[in-house]
């Protein structure tokens, strides 16, 4: 029972410090956490995946992996960038593509038993969301000028008090975006990880129980398999949502009304 308690504590402790042979991995005041470690792993895997996949670039992909990467990039270009931003979107394919694939690899790596999703830490997702907030506002200001961009929050053709109210709402909704963008990804990944962990702990509890309860352990195991499939779906969907919202925000900053 004590082991289960420890397991739950470890599961809910979001930022457990990574220890190698009983020692913290630290550099000055910075200490490497479990989530930061898997964030780095995902970074290496993402870079390696694309480096190996596009080693010998040709107009027509000459490897199965090359074809797969081309499909992925085309998806980012057509369905995420051009769809949300119009023809101007092509310029932002590297940015959106990096976000999409890095988030995707982080989410998927978290599904390997014993691994954690780098995106399951609020510090990571908030940093990305704030960065995206700065980027899309900078894009809007660059295109329309500071005054022109600010003016876009003020709706045209309505009475001043209503326009002021709408402008206020618009500013609030802009300010909330980093929070919603980050919490959506973090909460989904962290909660998914915790749910899978809780079911594992639940299984252990049933096995350690006596009599009929032991046999009942089959149920959480079957459910665990279904939950894994669901988490796989969530991992892909959340990466898509994060990237598509980034595209929509940039598109909104580019095409103000």
């Amino acid at each position: 029972m004590e082991m289960i308690g420890e397991g739950v504590k470890e599961l809910l402790h979001e930022l457990s410090v990574l220890t190698v042979a009983g020692h913290k991995v630290e550099a000055g005041q910075f200490v490497l956490t479990n989530y930061a470690f898997f964030l780095l792993i995902a970074f290496v895997v993402t870079v390696l995946f694309f480096m190996i996949g596009v080693r010998k670039v040709s107009l027509v992909p000459n490897s199965r992996l090359g074809s797969m990467i081309e499909m992925g990039v085309e998806f980012v270009r057509d369905s995420l960038c051009i769809e949300s931003m119009g023809p101007e979107g092509k310029k932002y394919v590297p940015f959106i593509g990096t976000i999409f694939f890095y988030v995707l690899f982080n989410n998927l790596i978290g599904l390997i038993p014993g691994f954690k999703p780098g995106t399951g830490s609020m510090g990571t997702t908030v940093t990305w969301a704030v960065l995206i907030f700065i980027v899309y506002n900078a894009i809007g200001i660059k295109k329309h000028g500071l005054w022109g961009y600010l003016k876009s929050f003020w709706p045209k053709g309505v009475a001043a008090p209503i326009a002021a109210f709408v402008a206020l709402l618009e500013i609030v909704s802009q300010m909330v975006r980093p929070l919603t963008l980050s919490v959506r990804l973090y909460a989904n990944m962290y909660a998914g990880h915790v749910v899978l962990g809780i079911f594992s702990i639940f299984t252990v509890m049933l096995i350690e129980a006596s009599g009929v309860m032991k046999i009942m352990a089959v149920l959480p195991i079957a459910l665990q398999v279904v939950l894994y499939a669901l988490e796989l779906f969530v991992a892909v969907i959340q990466a898509y949502i994060f990237a598509v919202l980034t595209s929509v925000y940039i598109g909104g900053a580019l095409n103000t009304h």
Binding site: V60, N62, S63, L65, I207, I221, A222
Partner: protein
């Protein structure tokens, strides 16, 4: 340890075969078959972990780690095979 790695490799092969069922002729039916087979693969993995947990608990960590490693090694080998350049005929 070897048992876990071998089982991991076999399960990776099972997952690979199941995905091969998705063909352009019958993508939906193939998806259903692939999902069912992958479900079976997962059940075997969980079942084996359960068996080790119940009968040889001290070997649980080593078995689990080697199971995952065996699966990942085979997956990486296939990944590298997919990255190999194919000559057009």
């Amino acid at each position: 340890m070897l048992g876990g790695a071998v089982l991991g490799a076999i399960l990776a092969a099972g997952a690979r075969v199941s995905v091969g069922r998705i063909t352009p002729d019958d993508p939906i039916g193939g998806m259903v078959q692939a999902a069912a087979l992958n479900f079976l693969v997962m059940m075997v993995a969980f079942g084996s972990l359960l068996a080790v947990f119940m009968f040889a608990r001290s070997a649980m960590f080593v078995f689990g780690a080697s199971l995952v490693s065996g699966f990942l090694v085979v997956a990486v080998v296939w990944f590298l095979g997919a990255a190999r350049t194919q000559n057009a005929h």
